[in-house]
Point group: D2
Chain length 174, copies 4
């Protein structure tokens, strides 16, 4: 039985986003140093829905009948390209959960399209990233660079809080 054709039409999914919490995965790509310690985080630079430039972490929806590991693999490949060699975590227990609400102020995360519940993972990347689709680049930033007010303000939907939580979890928060 093949569920890959379980596509939802754009207006069908748009409608569902107003009826149910949508299951998401989010991944913070990290680069490791020689000792294996994480040193940099990867942020996508992307043309946003409203036409402006903005930053994002990796992620997207989990499809019907799609295991979390496959969803995470698919979104890493979609956002980082086929040669990124992401190292998915052996356990699928997330380090954080982000709740995006369609109304502002309900939580730190806001997504006008939907209520989404995102399981957040840290994904070390060993290969070459070649962002695809509408992403212009993937930039590797030191913790200090990622936390500059300017960079944080470019992150949309409140994702700066996932970046901060990842850096805290990794012991990299200045």
């Amino acid at each position: 039985m093949d569920y890959d054709d379980n596509w939802l039409e754009p207006d069908e999914i748009a409608q569902l986003r107003r009826r149910l919490p949508i299951a998401y995965v989010n991944a913070v790509p990290v680069q490791l140093g020689d000792s294996g310690a994480p040193e940099r985080v990867g942020l996508l630079l992307r043309t946003m829905a409203e036409g402006t430039l903005g930053r994002e972490i990796v992620g997207g929806r989990v499809r019907f009948h799609e295991p979390l590991r496959r969803a995470l693999t698919r979104h890493c490949e979609k956002d980082l390209g086929p040669l990124a060699l992401p190292l998915l975590p052996p356990s699928l227990t997330p380090f954080h959960v982000a709740e995006y609400f369609p109304t502002e102020g309900e939580s730190k995360f806001f997504d006008p399209r939907q209520h989404a519940i995102a399981l957040c993972y840290i994904v070390p990347v060993q290969g070459e990233c070649t962002p695809r689709q509408d992403a212009l680049s993937l930039d590797w930033l030191t913790p200090a660079e990622a936390l500059r007010r300017e960079t944080l303000s470019e992150l949309s939907h409140g994702q700066q809080h996932i970046v901060k939580a990842a850096l805290a979890h990794l012991g990299l928060l200045p």
Copy 2:
């Protein structure tokens, strides 16, 4: 704005369960001893859909626009009664994630109705549990009792794996 009336009709939700992964919370109730260490886990005895008796842990669907903490509170109250005084964890990072698929063998968790992604929590209970709805009782079992072959076989949907994972996380697996 009140989202509590965002009810889905039974056949509408039945249909959605075939289109999207459904966000769930699962909670393993535990009783603490004098030192604060967990000693027993609580399992609901319930009349199952097919009319037989079966065991379950606490849980259910997250509604549209409902925060995880509120969903967890609501399901604890629904399953344990209003006097259970559950101690929700300060962080909403789950200790485990269970993926229920509508086809057997895809994972350890099977739910013929749906693909559900359940964030799993351990919830110490301080008060009196008075199971409601279709639950007949809540039984507090020692780890050894919970892991008896007979008890495990009464758990449905693969939830014995959540009980085992909880006991392992708590250092209580024999």
Copy 3:
């Protein structure tokens, strides 16, 4: 067999601190709101070794043959008083590990006396705190107050990083 008399003389322990990593527990006290969500963190105001005022979180050494849960209970009682009613986590898996080194710059944590490895926990407090020993007060701060530059600079040994990691873990980092 009673290990409570397994005291180490002050100069003996001072010497050991130069020979071996010392096992520590650290606890960040939190106050919960009505919904059970954490709202404030507790910081001790204390006269430091050098005579100045400084802030600290709860914690201390694990003794020989002392279980982690008992060490955590003992230090909570020592620092918060006997009526604090701390809710120790059901699992002893820490949310963070802090490595204090006796040389500056080796990590974010610095303790001139010793190399210490501290398992860090979040401990909701339900009762009244009456700091004892050399602690002058325990102050409950909102996340914004705890993260004020002035407050952070009063924390010693790098413990501001444990406070930040706790707030990130709780989803409270602004």
Copy 4:
């Protein structure tokens, strides 16, 4: 400043093991399948102190002034050989903590030599393992094989509980 020469003489360390909890790291090696999901765990076969054969997971003491990551790297190399290519976790928050006591029955972990507090990690291994020192082999076992009564009984010091906790954390407990 080089702390690698901070060796303790055998009888000095034997004495310290009776005075203080000793900081340890433990690692459960895992082999990943094509999808990145863990499939097998590695157990060392070793001649034990008492001359019999027994099984162990990777691990050992953290030295004075040694960061946890370096201790974990050192013990992986010591136990798995220089070509194992272990993938240390990006975060040093352990998935479990094991408390070994020198008296039986105090916890699930027993080590007649010492009170040790071991931070436990899961370490995917990508290369070739060539056990060194007194280890005879490293055997890769499926979860079912690792949990056979015979295999579990070969694990010493209660380490079967770390193996079970690792399998539970990975969602691999049958």
